[in-house]
Point group: D2
Chain length 366, copies 4
């Protein structure tokens, strides 16, 4: 059965995450060395599939990329071939162009499509599976907020970067007795802020799952003053909200066609704190794009290699329509039908929040 | 019941591992902030317990140590109070001095002893438990070779260091077309070599669990030559052996009372390879003590914090005679009686070895 | 003559810079070990001198701080004792309280005051010298913009951090074919942006010394598109300006008593570029406070140690009223009277800008 | 005049040093972008020149290498074309094959040869210059021991690596109260040990320029014991010698055709110390090959870029027979005739040794 597979295609969709290249490398090496498949990579996610824009993936072309962030296949945030924006009669209209993609796969002799991406990208993968395309999914979310797998690559790297930067902010905060508000990634889930906050010795961690109130934070700042630690580090996830408040829309520079982020919650919170804290300077830092790139941690390189190698095995085993996942520490698979929308978030009563509170970290909710 | 606990003592035994300080910090903070216990730390492991040599542990004294390797309580490799070396009548004799320790605990009013250590240290902990001392164990093995818990702190840091150093060796090996043999920790288990080898893009990984033969390694070097990659990185765990061979005893400098390591297996293997590989320089590097120290990775800081905070909770819950452990990703506990000798080693047919082979890594066994 | 010196005081003023602790350590160790002086450190710069708030500095208290950013003596940005803000009759008035400081020095028996700081802090040092206080200055400017010395500590660390973060931004920019605008420190001088831009492989470097025009930048983006490098990294110093334009005042959050920085020039430029570049996403990152802290580079540790040890020697040699400096690579000294206002900036026709242009970096001025 | 230059060749000889790739990149980019030259790179140093084995160097081929250690042109330690080992009539004989190289340059139309290397490689460069070849030299010595230039690339990176590893050794030494002997590069000059020792907070620094005696070291260990710092870090350069002793020849594995290093001086010294120090474990670490590779520091990237860009300018200016150098901080040039043999070593009475002694570092000479 698996003898019929001769050629596979890989694409990466959505925002980049450290580890994508390691996955591409592991799929390619396993596919070539163990199974003798030919491998190609579509550029810019589904857009490359639509435009038939691809590159061959060989042992050579995946050499030297294990540790590198980003994706050698490039990525695109927006392209959904089932609702693709095309120009027709001078207008931009949404159109289902998925048949073009299916035709391109057929014409190139690509037997299996491996899709690396997050919720949106995998939804399209499922839809291609429904159309009869042999699809294997690999989950990608730097926020680690996918319910269908234990842990995703890129997360450990992001936590490491934020932790290192918290360390840098620490010495300057202490020297000037400042209150520092540091905004980390996490629109819907606070895993990065929670983990980096613990590892980086933050005093306050604010996450979307636990609405905060300013008084509680101010109380913690005062307690620290009284205990001879007159500076405070606050890590706040992008999507954190004040109790009863809403997600802070990032300030927009006027006239900007594509909004430039000026930092939302960190600046709002710093402003709110400044109104009531008079004995400390309050400063904010929005970490932004530096959290995603650069070298991948060893942990993530191994995790990515496992995802990629397993994806290649799943092809040989004919497990199409499934996504690679990790369950209780072991590689496994799950139907793409089940995966979509199965998001995960920090359990406010879970082990890690409890432990963090036990060692004295405030979540701004008391 | 737990109300009766007022004071706890902590000690660290055996070789240091990154994360010990984070455990000490988490125990201390949780004990003080959540439970109101007084905390002291015995210096140099059991020796401090015997000599009643301790320091108070306060919020202040555990401040700023979360990221630091080593142990602020110092450690000792050899002291077993049940077979303690003492001077008597001008001779050194082994003697059971454990009663002195029990007496010291009583006199200081220490209700519970928390012991951080490996197999030897925890064996003594069990023996103290048998004598009626309220003991909590925390597992420490940088090699991650303890069967009773999923993963131990220090391991991720060691893997990260070895991976980084492999990266450094990579560029110089490639520039000179060398065969490099790099010796990593792992006398009984090859986890560090296996993980760092995958993360650091090694070509050959040699571990105690899979005896190697030189011909197989030479074959891989030749294959790489033929594929236009005329250099080879070999990671070898200390305890790796040639098929049919024995563990290489480290060369000893003559007259040395306490043997100085000159590197065992890496130098032997480099020598063996040089005899048969004529078109490459062969070089060896023994990483040694640089693998243990310095800053702890964010991953290990979180893991250690979990171990420490859980240990404090176990005290409050009265779970004496037990060791903190992680099972299927969650904090749990296990009887010290069950722990001793439950070692773990790399499964030669397990997932990670299989994946490594799939992506083309040789284990020298073909 | 120098035998009369028995006790010295140290203070740090202005923003913190990596290396301050290494200077404090080198002064203290040399003063104690070589000269037998007693050493104290005033807290929070001149404010501590005014309040007689100090700590003893011993071999112990300066142990373990060589590599740490920040300052163990704390610092303050604003306190000028010659124009000190004091409450009098319910009003805040400026008052010369320098005599209080002189009195405090005399009462504590402090023979020499060593002042670590930038232009403002050193101006006060000169003024104290004019009042007869025995003062030694040590220059501190993370921007490296002091004319009276070759190079200042903290600069290499700041360049290293910005370079590392540029590397992180690189992989994500390349993966998404983005134009990234990264704001680095440098209000008056562009040294950090220039050096980090070269080391971090930026395509465009914008500094205060060379006004840019948007068209020139857009041209470079297009050239890169045409050469198959469809992404662009722009490093911009805080104080860079458009040709004919003014320094961008950072956006202020309304009602903020102490303005919170939302990022000035990076966001303005990103916005300007977005209006004319349609085939790339444009994103901005304001590095902010992460550029100052954390571990100090080995280069800066050595440089700081040289500054500190030399300062102690200058005390013994009676070179009061002078600042330690480096001239043509060697330790030297210069009168504080000469130092004030002797700023340095990037020479637009100098060697490094020329070399940067030669290797293809744009300064937005063509 | 310079209009006649159309094509240049680059080669790298001797051991690799971090920064070589940055030099190659800067030469290539400046040559192409500013002067319109064609550029090729000979592989494996002079051997490639002899075998006419080269690759084109383009903007593409030097992309992404700025930060990478090693050399994309590969290098060889031994090939001297003026005394080349060739097989003749079944014997290996030394032969002057430099005319073949000259012929190859002519046939390929290479007008200028840029040679990156150390003393041996540059001696050949001078000899080619004497034969009429247009040669430009670029100095390469990771040990920074070349008299003709202020500072060489690779040195800052080596110092940074050794410093980082000293930090790792520090925490484990302190935890176990050990005496650690760490061997760093430096056969003839002790710059790396000196700089890393200061930056890494070593207690004792041993360099070839200052013979040590064991008693002096033991005295320092005891002093530290008495001051409550019962552990000692000793950095020793490869070429350091005991007073009245000789350079320790590295132990050779028997029968090894090409000797494998087992570490010389570090192991000898550890052994010697163990005989007289009874209250501490003594351990040795030989850093070896990990000191040369991996990522280049920002400082070295800039330095290398300056060397490379200047080399290209020197071609255009017709400064053949010269080596690029840095004098008092500025790019300059010096005749290759003057360069050969102009070695530099640490001045035992110089500023840095004096400062190190002032802050309490022992050089084992008291």
């Amino acid at each position: 059965m698996e003898n019929k597979i001769k050629k596979i295609g890989i694409l990466t969709g959505g925002g980049d995450a450290p580890g994508l290249n390691a996955v591409i490398r592991a799929i390619t090496r396993t596919a070539i060395l163990k199974y003798g498949y030919e491998v190609i990579g579509y550029k810019f996610g589904y857009r490359g599939l639509y435009n038939n824009d691809f590159m061959p993936l060989t042992l050579d072309s995946v050499s030297g990329i294990l540790h590198k962030g980003g994706t050698i296949l490039y990525s695109s945030n927006k392209d959904n071939l089932f609702e693709y924006l095309v120009e027709e009669d001078g207008k931009t209209v949404k159109k289902d162009v998925s048949d073009v993609a299916v035709e391109n796969l057929k014409n190139e002799g690509v037997d299996v499509l491996v899709v690396l991406g997050g919720d949106g990208t995998l939804t399209s993968a499922r839809d291609f599976a429904r159309k009869g395309v042999k699809v294997i999914g690999v989950p990608k979310t730097i926020d680690n907020d996918l319910g269908a797998t234990d842990i995703t690559f890129g997360f450990d790297t992001a936590v490491s970067i934020v932790t290192e930067l918290l360390g840098r902010i620490h010495t300057t905060a202490e020297s000037h007795h400042r209150v520092m508000v540091v905004e980390a990634m996490g629109r819907n889930a606070g895993f990065i802020a929670l983990h980096a906050g613990i590892a980086g010795s933050a005093d306050v961690i604010l996450i979307p799952e636990i609405p905060y109130n300013v008084d509680s934070i101010v109380k913690r700042v005062k307690e620290r003053d009284e205990h001879g630690q007159p500076f405070t580090i606050i890590v706040v996830a992008e999507g954190a909200t004040e109790k009863g408040g809403e997600v802070v829309v990032n300030k927009i520079v006027e006239d900007s066609p594509d909004p430039i982020r000026l930092g939302g919650i960190a600046n709002k919170l710093a402003n709110d704190l400044e109104k009531v804290i008079k004995n400390h300077e309050v400063r904010s830092v929005v970490l932004g794009h530096v959290q995603r790139g650069g070298d991948t941690t060893p942990y993530d390189r191994i995790l990515s290699t496992r995802y990629g190698a397993e994806a290649a095995d799943m092809i040989a085993e004919g497990k199409f329509g499934n996504m690679v996942c990790i369950r209780d520490g072991h590689m496994s698979s799950v139907s793409l039908e089940e995966v979509i929308g199965s998001n995960k978030s920090v359990d406010p009563k879970g082990e890690l929040v409890r432990i963090a509170k036990n060692i004295g970290i405030s979540f701004g909710d008391e």
